[in-house]
Subunit: 383 residues, 2 copies
Amino acid sequence: MNNFRFRNPVELLFGKGQIACLKQRVAAGTRVLMTYGGGSIKRNGVYDQVMAALSDCEVTEFGGIEANPDYATLMKAVEICRHQKIDLLLAVGGGSIIDGTKFIAAATCFESDPWQLLVGGAKVTRALPLATVLTLPATGSEMNCGAVISRRETQEKHSFGSELVFPRFSILDPEVVYSLPKRQITNGVVDIYAHTLEQYLTTANHTRVMDRWAEGLLQTLIEVAPRLLGEERSYDDCADYMITATMGLNGFIAMGVDEDWATHMIGHDLTALHGLDHGVTLAIVFPGVMHVMRREKEAKLLQYGERVWGIREGSTDERIDAAIRCTETFFESVGMKIHLSDYGIGEPTIRTIVERFRQRGWKLGEHGIVTLDKVEAILRHVM
Amino acid sequence: MNNFRFRNPVELLFGKGQIACLKQRVAAGTRVLMTYGGGSIKRNGVYDQVMAALSDCEVTEFGGIEANPDYATLMKAVEICRHQKIDLLLAVGGGSIIDGTKFIAAATCFESDPWQLLVGGAKVTRALPLATVLTLPATGSEMNCGAVISRRETQEKHSFGSELVFPRFSILDPEVVYSLPKRQITNGVVDIYAHTLEQYLTTANHTRVMDRWAEGLLQTLIEVAPRLLGEERSYDDCADYMITATMGLNGFIAMGVDEDWATHMIGHDLTALHGLDHGVTLAIVFPGVMHVMRREKEAKLLQYGERVWGIREGSTDERIDAAIRCTETFFESVGMKIHLSDYGIGEPTIRTIVERFRQRGWKLGEHGIVTLDKVEAILRHVM
């Protein structure tokens, strides 16, 4: 096991009717900037519940934060925070809203050009406090301190992180899952599955507990996904789905393990260049990573195949092929297309992405094993 | 899934050589009360590492805290804290030392009789900050906010809890496991196994993720225990063991589930009356709870048997009997005796314990299902 440091102070308020807890959590008179997206919260009742709970506060609304939140949009919220002396940011939405709100929290208190927080390696030293009401389980942002921000102007997508942008608390009411469109479930399932794999499909025999816990999240998704995509969603299925999303990226399965994240890095460029949903990019790229990195990840791929999919027969390569095929079939079963060509993406994009990674000089994958030629092979394999 | 609230702000510093981190974590000049037990830390090098790291602090030592820490002993430390204006408590030891130090932290700042914190339901409103260096994985106290305190004078054992006694940080160096006596491993394995069962062996189909995670801890213990009790202990086995202990009682597997804890409650009285090791009492009582509560816990016992022990054949009762037998055999395999008679305990103690519970009027088990007649049947079954 690797040495590690772990800390996650986020308070979860989980269950039916928890949004009403906002009343006790946010003192009367607090100046709140409530951030949200396209307005689905006005249709599903969450907006009304939040506003009722905050009736004693001074609430300013900032709607219209887009999926893959845009730097330019967020900077408008930063202006509001500075001028209105906002005390608390309340993100009501999914990962894009929460990520964007983390950036607003840090950028408001940052004295130089906030873009430096994303590309210049500038450190967050202060941030506004923030809390969340989760409406779309997927990214785990409600219980971590990272965020991914896009800049449409330059077709870039970058991440930042700081313990100062951990939400103070996050309210998770599984009832929000009832009304989610299938596309959101499809994207969410693949996103959570991919988060888990990024922290799991690396080094074998590293830590037994983290392996079992990651496998438990994958098994839960495999059980729950078809039920959520069927005719009726039960409360317990929604709750299992919501908790799986949060546990998939809050550090709980990352203790002492090597992490990969090459799929996410490659996927971010596909989103930046072509506007593909984040989940879509992961469904395309991950099977390619498994195929191309099969020697480096051999032991873990075999364990994954056996414990998650029950694959025990055949040669090493046959079992790995079967594990990859099960993964692809699972992604397809939730409604994903898993080839670049399904989205009209081909050779030019592959060349662009490889060139971008060449210029960045990043090390990708655990211990930098996903080299530039591997990136190219991965993308070519999933064309 | 039940509604739940979760928060665990403890920072873990896990791995080889982490004790040296104390130097960065504790500011020079801090008045530290270092609490420990019988002196094993002086033999295994931990004492020297801690003292070296705290060389710039004003360290007062308080050794001699016993297993099942005694109220009278702890009150002496409270006096020291008050008179020497201690800034930070540093518990260097296992669960008894850490539990005792949590009580010292709360009692020092409590203005009435501190015994009220244990039996009077008095609320902790202030506590000295505390941190830990774990030397004996078992109780999970290094990452939770509960504690169990004994009073030998009156043969009582009581628990208390407050978020104010969460450790600020806990240092977990698995190398401390190398030199642990087998008896400590035996007790620890059963303690961790029982903690996990208390949070797992209740209601079926409640939460898939917590079920998988609890099963993962049990599976890890079953794999690791014989290796730790064999000739040589590997670092990775020690690390897996240590992380399992912490994850077993830090709230991570308790989200949204019913909990039992009847075994612990009954076990506490066996310790209070006869001085049995905590782990010993759990190894005796848990198989009795499984046997007597087999109808109420039927679905979960079957799931436990199948997923943890691979039991898939036979009638319901045959499979439950097999699961209980596997549990007993596992406890015996790590060196436990599992009957009251092995310790010369018989009828009079059963009557005393049942009478104590009658007087307390507590509800035991999930939803109070472990009634007084069940307590009697459990103890009679394990005679």
